[in-house]
């Protein structure tokens, strides 16, 4: 699939990609990560999360990984997700798109910072 065809990303999708950038996570860990990152502003519901995950799996942004943490930390019901190479490309492209937008906003004086 073409990277550009997926842009702009829905915010939830972008947040999930960000949550998986440094490590594999299971669903609830993603929710917690997003919540912490946004200072509690974005609290993903289970329904929204898994619908997004399902779509992202189909788009090839994620994959379900079989690598699991040590058994004492694990819960067998959990599924762990990992960002794919394609997912990374898409996240980078989205970040470029956003920073471009912010640059334009600065130039117009809508956003603080140097023009």
């Amino acid at each position: 699939m073409n990277v550009l065809a997926l842009l702009p990303l829905p915010p939830v999708t972008f947040h999930i990609l960000l949550a998986l950038a440094d490590q594999d996570r299971h669903g609830y860990a993603i929710i917690q990560d997003v919540e912490a990152r946004t200072g509690g502003e974005l609290k993903l519901s289970a329904g929204t999360l898994y619908r997004s995950i399902q779509r992202m799996l189909e788009q090839g942004l994620l994959l379900e990984t079989r690598d699991r943490p040590a058994p004492e930390e694990d819960d067998e019901r959990r599924r762990y997700y990992r960002i794919t190479k394609f997912g990374v490309e898409v996240a980078r492209a989205e970040a470029r798109r956003l920073s471009q937008l912010v640059k334009f906003a600065r130039e117009s004086g809508f956003a603080p910072g140097r023009a």
Partner: protein, 847 residues
Amino acid sequence: MRLYRLLLRLYPAWFRVEYEEEMCAVFAARRAQENPITLWCGSIVEILSNALGVHADVLRQDLRWTVRTMRESPGFALTAVSVIALGLGATTAAFTLLDHVLLRPLPFSHPEQLVTLYQTDFSNRNPRTGATPPNFLDWRTMNQSFSSLGAYVGILTPMNLSGQGDPVRLDAATLSFDVFRTLDVRPALGRSFTAEDDRPGAANVVILGNNVATSLFDRAGNAVGRTVRLDTRPYTIIGVMPPGFAFPWRDTALWIPLKTWDNRSNRMLVVLGRLRPDVPLPQARADLNRIAKQLERAYPRENAGVGIGAVEMQGDMSPQSRMLVVAVFGAAFCLLLIACTNLANLLFARAMVRKQEIAVRIAIGAARERLLRQLFTESLVLAIAGGALGLLLAVVATPSLGILVPGALPIGATPEVDWRVFAFVAVLTLGTSIAFGVGPAFRSSSVADLNALRTRFASGGRTDRLRAALVLAEVAGTVTLLVGAGPLMKEMWRVEDVDPGFRAGGVLTLRTALPIAMPADQRHEFYSRVLTGVQALPGVISTAYISFLPMTATFGNFVVTVPGMTMAEETRAHTRFVTPGYFTALGIPLLRGRDVSGLDNTKTPPVAIISQSLAQRFWPGQDPIGRQINHGTVVGVVGDVSVRGLETASLPQVYLSWDQVPPGMAFYAPKDLVIRVSGDPMALAPAVRQIIHAANPEQAVSDVQLLEEIVSSQTASRRAQLNVLSAFATVAFLLAVVGIHGLLSFAVSSRTPEIGVRIALGARRGEILGMFLRQGLALGVAGVAIAVPLAYLAAQALTSLLFGVQPGDPLVYAAAALLALAMTAASSLRPAFRAASIDPAITIRIE
């Protein structure tokens, strides 16, 4: 947590399998931290919206997949869609007609209370005659079963309407004042008839139909209170009926009171009654029997053996019309079955091809439910596309079925597409497409059917038999339809071959019916001026007037006697008055003697020209010229003409002079003008109208048509029946071709490896070809064997449509059977050749 799991059921099953446990875990973690009320409210809302979203995602994906697969095999998609469209369209149109004519309640309030009454006369073996006016009046006063009775004259009365724009000729119904009351209808404007209007000697009043009123006065509202002339007598317009009102016939344009109530032997009235709400029809019949007995005692001479019959007005039509409508519906239903069979076959074949693909996908872990859903969506898309096209077809085809609506019914001519029917047929097609689109795949996927991965060589015996049965059904249906259409076609060719006795080409005809009361010298003046004027027009070869053109009137049959000769039976002849040149204009051969001339008038002895069959009857082998008959001296002999039309035997003809119309016979005075032209006859019409207008500005011109049209209208209803049946038969035929071709193509594809092996092992290509051709033909033969008895039964039911054709006509069966066999052979050819040209090296390498 149980409640939460229940909520999760809103998601598709495969989604739950994947994520239910995790979602529950998330919910449990949240429950430990958050306020339960906000948590629950939030969860319910987000599950509702997200579950819906997942379903939508799936639908979008499935639609994309469907479009892609359809692009890959456009032939399949096109065939399936057109099969659905044809079946759906034809059945909807035909059922709409059936519903319009037979099922739908008449457009009057409480139609179930409306009853048609008639006299029976078993002393003359006549089960149904009209009622005489005095009998009707007695029924009206003596009955205890009807809240209202009304009567109208059983044939329409054409009248000249003048005094408002150009004179026009319109069909009038003559009725008693209480007909409208019985029907419970009222004029939209003005008033209805009253008992006073119906009294002999009352002022002349008329109620107009909405169409006439608007065309004459621009707005219907302008008509009421105005005076028009009907056959030269003034009538006051007292009302205008609502648009769409059609009674007793479809084309009735105006209504006038009956007024004459004597004469107990003139059976001219059709009586209709409205039953009292508490009286069932059998009780009313008993009441009428009592009345009939009393009247028989009171009037033993006129009413001997006269009974009173009563039938429901709904569906009261000739058995032939009824049969025609039922036949069309039968044909359409046949077609629907064929279409569904075909669709089933197509989808089934596809499902079998997919069996392998599906098994592979299940093996690599695809959710079964999602696969089914995909197939379901595909079937749905096919059904919807076909349905839309079918609806379009129904809307286009339905008006053309209007010609089959009997004109003698009080309903409009054009049925409108019936939505209930469409819905029924749509559900049927949808059911078929889903049952056969998803069903086989479901079966193959419900067993963990990895066998499908291995069984490339096996061709499942049971499914093959099912598919073959479906094709058999198609062949049988097609043959039944062909056998139905065959006799109609044969009979129409026979009728069209009948020589009418005149040359119809190049003749323009029109009618100028002079008022009956017009004095003879004025008539003479009118004919002379018109004929002289028309003859002078460029291109006119000859022109003349006659009482009634052949094939336009069956009445005017008078007894012919020869003084001094006693015949065993009374001889009657179609008697017509003609102006000089009539025989030339129509191309009727003058065999002996002379035509009438301008000198045969009231001052000279009456003359007669007789047809050849009459001459042979009276004077076989002798010269009839100069002999006497009761109408006058025979001066000429002409060829016989089919006066009663091509299908019925006509009486001999007697032609009398236009200037010798006896007093009291003015109704039979010449009124039809015929003009033989060397160029385009219709181009002459405006000039002829001008000449007539100049001769008498009050005179209406009607029935402007070609003589050819009159002749071809003889076979019009037959042709309409034939066209409809042939259309159905053709469609069925095509569908069957598609079905057989599909079945064999599938057989060839699924057996390709086997055939490859056979060829590699030394089977000759001719043998392979023969094998598949035999398979196709076997289906054809079996189908014909099933169809022939079925078709025979259907044809017997149709006998009332097929006059003179026996349902067992072997030629028709042979032709239909041959066609069906040729069809099966032709549709097996391509797959068979494909099988024979299989390259063993390639197929085996693939394996």
